[in-house]
Amino acid sequence: MRPDTDTVRGWLGEVPDPEIPAISVVDLGIVRDVGWEGETLVVDVTPTYAGCPATLVIALDIETALHARGIEKVEVRRKMSPAWSTDWISPEGRQKLLDYGIAPPQLNAANCAGMLSAQTAACPQCGSENTEMLAGRGSTPCKAQFRCRDCREPFDYFKAI
């Protein structure tokens, strides 16, 4: 059985990111390619951060999900280049982050002058843009801690990288 790669991508769209289970590995933009090499299904995955501890778990989750669909030989390959950017998070992924309470990363803001101080986030709870950064690093390295000045709720902001 060799299902076509679009079908496989559909299945991978149901594999949640272990750190942020609200979005899938496909939403996150880390699944770079899916293809068959003989009887082996090869999935190219790019890590978000070089040291992201979720990387190994993601590879295992992808293998497990594809085995469960009846694919026997799965190889998850790490693809370093081009480097992942938060701009690759799909529009659906960004909406799911927002619904989950995480402000999605500002687009085209990676490597900008001023870095984090130049990035702004609207409150995921009330939508206000009157927010302030509390700390540059939050519950995971990829997020910063913000607070809404209007509804007073603290929230995570996914940093642009």
Partner: protein, 249 residues
Amino acid sequence: MDPLVTFCLRMGDTALILGQQTAAWCGHAPVLEEDIAFANMGLDLIGQTQLWYEIAAEAEGKGRTPDDLAFFRTERQFLNAQLVERPNVDFAHALMRQYLFDAWHLPMQEALCESGHEPIRGLAQKSVKEVRYHIDRSRDLIVRLGDGSEESRAKMQGALDALWPYAADLMATDEVEKTLAEQGVLPDLHRVRRAFDAETAATLERATLAIPENGHARTGGRSGIHTETMGYILAEMQSVPRSYPDARW
């Protein structure tokens, strides 16, 4: 040793030892945000180490893994700059060590983005995005604490006086870098030194801190010569894999 392997170990070891030192702040930093920040930064550095060791192991061709390189080499085989093995005396020392490292690491990674060696270029293009966030934090804190209270300023100046001589080791080069430059693996590294000088001069001035003028420089780490603290770092870092070499998660 193949110059490419030596260079990758110099880079990887420097990232690993700083990552190990930085991770030791987990649970000990003066405020929660900085506790998390140091732990996060250590994670990035250890992730980057893994990438350097993979390139080194591949070029070496002896079948060693990144874990073998991290846990089963001895002190003289580690080629990290001496700066990163300086002890976690207090928050001022840890922060100044981080800042001086970042002030070199960013231009170094930027230069490596133009390497003629494809895996190194890919590594650099990945790492540089993380490193920009690192210096964004350390520069901000250096200025805030340097240009802060009398006590914070004195502590930061003390840390700068103690650590400045070791910064030279980050930029020390020899035949290894020269050979790799001729092969097109490394771009011109003089601009890294110029960028480091410009960055530190501007930031330390804003922080009201004075760069020591005695010109004293300590080097040798990148050839395997280390200070007394290095043995203690390795003893702690390597104790579990050396006690249980076949242990698996």
